[in-house]
């Protein structure tokens, strides 16, 4: 799978998993996301409690390196399995044009956000490396 195909499959997925480095070790969480140009954006929506100081935001502030995974699982047919991972550097964005653009991209992708756009902050990831694997191309 070449980088163009890896990016295409990644961008088409509905859910991804974000890994950050926390004070006690790695952290993973499922995320909604959008690919905006060369960046991947995700946002804190309305789930967290009062403070919005989500652990993943603290992680990124302390160490901006993140990895985001999209994969295809099929319990019955393992020959169809694949995954694409984007490694990158994350930035927390709380307002301004990049914030607005990210929220608009998320609202455009997920009907659930139409009524209630994510409040943010936005985690804006500049991808430094794409990695991909497919069962079909493996020995």
């Amino acid at each position: 799978m070449d980088v163009t195909e890896a990016r295409r499959r990644f961008a088409a997925a509905r859910v991804a998993r974000l890994a950050t480095i926390g004070p006690r070790g790695p952290r993973i969480v499922p995320i909604t996301f959008a690919v905006v140009g060369d960046r991947i954006v995700t946002a804190v929506d309305h789930k967290p409690k009062t403070s919005r100081r989500l652990a993943r935001l603290d992680d990124v502030r302390a160490d901006p390196r993140v990895a985001i995974l999209v994969d295809h699982w099929d319990d019955d047919d393992w020959t169809t399995l694949w995954w694409v991972r984007a490694d990158g550097v994350a930035e927390i964005v709380t307002s301004g044009p990049r914030f607005d653009e990210a929220v608009a991209a998320l609202v455009a992708r997920y009907p659930q956000y139409a009524e209630r756009p994510p409040a943010g902050p936005v985690i804006d990831v500049t991808v430094t490396r794409w990695r991909a694997w497919t069962a079909a191309e493996s020995p």
Copy 2:
């Protein structure tokens, strides 16, 4: 969701995502796994190339802290979403009773391994903390 329910949902899942800390940042990969007592085991199967020196094994050797995520995604109904994360300390096991027990547990869970059990090594994770989230219990 209490810890018993979190463990139950985790153990019933067919695929999980493993995060490790690599030299360039976090790494995530989808994994097959089994819960064996208080431990989570996963194994390198036959996909990797010649050396079996998978990056995730190098990561664990350098920093044994890992996180493993199981989640439920539903594109249409976000009120049903949940995830369970196990934080733990991993050990690489290449032979002996713990290796055999792990491989047997994986073979028992996945019919695909019956003909061709995973060659290993096994990554054997002692869970230090369970974390869970459900949309249903969120404000």
